[in-house]
């Protein structure tokens, strides 16, 4: 006897699942708001509303299946693409990573400098006359002072207590704060200053040290320029994310900020010889590498598939052997190949008694890259070609034989075009994969060799993705905006090629 109907159980499970998801999303929204990530909070809110509407409305039955995938697609594909495209129009690199407001705040902080004599004080925090106050001892002269937000008052010797290090630790009317109170006071204490004159003030530099400071940078009212009060140099906003000296643009203040400059990265790629030179070379090699790789892998995979299509002895064993390279993690294979081709200590040179720098010569390294990629990729093409061969209707072959076609004619004019049509989407996908085959290049050659002595800045085996990675992260001088621009170009190329190829193979029409 069923006490509870299955529909009731599913309803309860549904309500509980959604309640949990809703609760988690509410919590995440709360956390995002606390962290001032309002865009993330907004996106989460949309997902929250969307999920509840989709799963509690009869009007959105179809969306129940599409909703999770759509959300993941947006988060992991659409948003990164939009963000990358957005960042590609910014001057976004080392020294120009934060916002202008943050940069100005930081410059104001950097502009607070110690006086020329480097006067520092031992400091005891507490209260005097009901106000926050500090008991200061000049570390050089051991003169004690009582300071508050209004003034610095020298204390007469004998009117305060010193410890054995000649540091004032108590004074009449001054109550010492506990360590816990000090930590709790961090927020106000970090902006607390004791004025000494119109331009100088004492500022805490920790819980127990203070320094005599002055303001080095004076900003104008609009925050568009600042003056170094020590040197008199005026720095102006250069419109590209930095304050630079008015009379000498090579004098640049850091930090700078991310500046919207839509054309800079893209035009730079085309017109700046330092960027355009390597970019064109890398682009040509990327296309060649992806095309040759796919062609070779397919040719070998198909040849083996045809060979294995015949009933030969130990066929199962051969088939197992052929897919072994595919079963092994590719990064391990690549590292092993890198060791084999090492010019100094590699197994290949040792076995053959050679001294060939396989990875240190541009053309040899390219050859090695293609060879290793062939090793890694042919089993996949062998598998899909085998599947395609087996999927071909046998009556076509029989009809062709009856019509007097030779074996060669049957293969080239009938089987191959059919296989090509079946495999087109996979060939296109493989081309796109190899277009962005970062692991192979980076683990095998790191994009090298780079003939830097003859002016090369990109490696002979660098493809666009490794070039973009090096541009963004390859040194301590990162250029994230430029890397984003390269990524956008890659996206457009791969997208356009895929669309064109798919249309050409009429796959879209047939789907």
């Amino acid at each position: 006897m069923n006490l509870i109907k299955p529909s009731a159980i599913s309803a309860v499970l549904k309500v509980m699942s959604l309640a949990l998801a809703t609760a988690l999303l509410v919590w995440m929204i709360y956390t995002a708001i606390l962290a001032s990530d309002f865009i993330i909070a907004g996106v989460l809110l949309i997902i929250l509303i969307g999920a509840n509407w989709v799963y509690f409305s009869k009007k959105a039955v179809a969306s129940k299946f599409l909703f999770p995938g759509t959300v993941l697609l947006v988060i992991f594909v659409i948003v990164p693409i939009i963000y990358t495209a957005w960042m590609s129009v910014y001057n976004y690199k080392t020294g120009n990573e934060i916002t202008k407001d943050q940069a100005i705040t930081q410059l104001k902080l950097v502009g607070l400098v110690p006086d020329a004599a480097g006067t520092t004080y031992d400091m005891v925090l507490g209260k005097a006359h009901g106000q926050n106050a500090v008991l200061l001892t000049d570390q050089a002269t051991h003169q004690a002072f009582l300071g508050d937000a209004n003034k610095l008052t020298p204390l007469q010797p004998g009117s305060y207590t010193m410890d054995k290090l000649q540091k004032a630790i108590a004074a009449p009317g001054f109550t010492v704060a506990s360590a816990t109170d000090i930590a709790a006071s961090n927020t106000w204490l970090s902006t607390f200053t004791v004025p000494v004159s119109n331009v100088r003030f004492v500022s805490p530099q920790g819980s127990d040290v203070a320094a005599l400071m002055h303001e080095k940078f004076k900003f104008n009212a609009g925050l568009t320029q600042l003056q170094d009060t020590a040197s008199g140099v005026v720095y102006v906003d250069n419109g590209n994310g930095n304050f630079v000296a008015k009379n000498d643009a090579t004098k640049v203040l850091f930090p700078g900020w991310r500046q919207l400059n839509p054309a800079e990265n893209y035009i730079g790629l085309l017109t700046n010889p330092k960027l355009s030179g390597p970019f064109v070379g890398v682009f040509i090699w990327t296309i060649s590498f992806a095309f040759i790789s796919v062609l070779m892998m397919w040719a070998l995979g198909l040849t083996l598939a045809i060979a294995m299509d015949k009933k030969i002895k130990f066929r199962g064993f051969y088939r197992a052997i052929l897919i072994l390279p595919y079963a092994m993690p590719s990064f391990m294979s690549i590292l092993i190949w890198a060791g084999i081709f090492n010019g100094d200590y590699g197994a290949l040179n040792n076995l053959l008694g050679l001294h060939v720098q396989w990875l240190n010569d541009a053309w040899l390294a390219k050859g090695v890259i293609l060879l290793v990629n062939l090793w890694l990729g042919f089993p996949y093409f062998y598998l899909i070609s085998t599947g395609a061969l087996q999927a071909l209707p046998t009556d076509i072959e029989e009809a062709a034989e009856i019509d007097g076609a030779t074996g060669s004619q049957i293969f080239w004019r009938i089987k191959l075009p059919l296989i090509f049509q079946i495999l087109s989407p996979l060939l296109i996908g493989s081309f796109a994969f190899n277009f962005n085959n970062f692991n192979l290049i980076y683990l095998l050659t790191k994009g090298g060799p780079t003939d830097v002595l003859n002016g090369q800045t990109a490696g002979a085996t660098d493809i666009l993705i490794t070039y973009a990675y090096k541009t963004a992260f390859g040194s301590n001088q990162q250029n994230l905006g430029l890397a984003c621009a390269i990524s956008v170009i890659m996206f457009v190329i791969v997208g356009a090629l895929s669309m064109w190829s798919l249309k050409r193979s009429r796959v879209l029409e047939e789907m």
Binding site: V15, T22, V26, L109, T180, A183, T187, V209, L453, Q456
Partner: protein
């Protein structure tokens, strides 16, 4: 009707669950935790000493976050935001200056005591555009490990070359001196032979107009000692990572290696008996120079967002103090920057501390600049490759390298 019932039920359940979760979120009290990021090595060594400490910065609790590797830490640092970023970070001093350039480091003011105990060059390395940001805590430098199986360490580079030829003929060695860790350990060989990076002005600052890389003395000595009749490297000098000539040294197939204290345990574990000394100069006069980099700790701009910036400054004072420096050096076994704690160090650590005294400060703004097309490290490996592997001539190769470096440094000096 059913939909409405489900919706109401779900709403009640959601609110109840959210309320329960919200209760579990701690109330927003004043933050007193200082979160310090460290890589796997420093983290493992220093966590037992400092994690949870409430005495380094009274009123604040130290929390050490250890990453699985330096790469992992730097990756997290690149992505850090005010919400996720650390309050302090230990790393190579270049991270301090990079953070300063990016507006992510907290400016600090040094006391007279700190200035007296920490060398000016080390403090300079942790400053940017005239502002102090970090406290240098250890010296990353190299020195020459000589395998005593081949006798006593030679007093001149010429003697080193003669020893190499003797053992090479006997088939006992393949390498003379190895510049370990890529090109980092190569400078002492260059300077021993009369070359190097840049010259120095009278005040000790780099003279970037004086490029020593292709000096006539170096070219002459390198041609005489480092290349064979075919114009390629003869094996006396090798350079590459630890898996190359470094492994040869561990296998007893190299006379010497120039590397840092971080290789000590591997060399000891391999059973190599060694002595530590500078790479000898060509005639035994003067001394060769090796790069001196520094490890440093700095406070981040995020500490201000977290409301612990003063605690961070207090902690920095502790790390600059003798007490803090000794605790650090004892735990990490890295040569300290603080000059006042030398007597407490082990012989090996003291050996590297001594080596640092003749070190050339690794000015990252110059070495990392690639305005000429490539930075120092890439130029060096390409030049060595051209001169000693491909046999394109010492003079021709080093002249090309020098041309690039001159452009790099002329630009780099303007950014310091």
């Amino acid at each position: 009707m059913k939909i409405r019932k489900n919706g109401i039920a779900a709403g009640i359940a959601a609110v109840a669950t959210a309320a329960m979760l919200a209760v579990s979120v701690p109330a927003h009290a004043a933050n007193t935790t200082i979160n310090i990021w460290m890589d796997d090595q420093r983290g493992a060594q220093l966590s037992p000493v400092w994690d949870g400490s409430t005495t380094i910065a009274p009123g604040y609790t130290i929390k050490i976050t250890t990453f699985s590797s330096r790469d992992a830490m730097m990756s997290a640092w690149d992505k850090a935001t005010a919400a996720s970023g650390p309050d302090m970070m230990f790393d190579a001093v270049s991270s301090t200056t990079d953070a300063a350039k990016n507006g992510k480091a907290l400016p600090i003011v040094l006391t007279a005591t700190q200035k007296a105990e920490l060398p000016a060059a080390a403090l300079g390395a942790a400053s940017y555009q005239g502002t102090q940001y970090g406290i240098p805590v250890d010296v990353d430098t190299t020195t020459m490990y000589w395998n005593t199986k081949f006798g006593k360490a030679p007093k001149t580079f010429a003697a080193l070359a003669a020893t190499f030829q003797k053992y090479k003929k006997a088939g006992k060695v393949t390498t003379g001196i190895c510049a370990g860790d890529g090109t980092w350990g190569a400078l002492p060989v260059l300077t021993a032979l009369g070359g190097g990076a840049w010259g120095y002005k009278a005040d000790g600052t780099p003279d970037v107009g004086k490029v020593l890389f292709n000096s006539p003395a170096f070219v002459k000595n390198a041609n005489a000692l480092l290349v064979d009749k075919k114009g390629k490297g003869n094996g006396l000098f090798a350079w590459d990572g630890w898996d190359g000539c470094g492994q040869s040294f561990v296998n007893g197939k190299a006379l010497a290696i120039n590397t840092g204290s971080w290789r000590l345990s591997a060399i000891i574990d391999a059973g190599i008996n060694y002595t530590l000394q500078p790479v000898p100069t060509i005639d035994g006069k003067g001394t060769s120079h090796q790069w001196s980099g520094f490890g440093a700790v700095f406070g981040t701009s995020y500490s201000k967002d977290h409301g612990v910036d003063l605690g961070v400054k207090t902690a920095l004072s502790y790390f600059a103090s003798q007490k803090g420096a000794l605790a650090y050096a004892t735990a990490t076994k890295r040569p300290p920057v603080n000059s006042k704690i030398g007597s407490h160090l082990s012989a090996d650590v003291a050996g590297f501390a001594n080596a640092a005294k003749t070190g050339a400060v690794q000015v990252n703004g110059l070495l990392g600049d690639n305005t000429g097309g490539a930075n120092w490290y890439d130029v060096l490996s390409s030049t060595f490759d051209a001169a000693f592997t491909k046999g394109q001539g010492v003079k021709a190769s080093f002249d090309k390298g020098a041309k690039i470096l001159k452009v790099d440094w002329a630009h780099g000096i303007t950014t310091l």
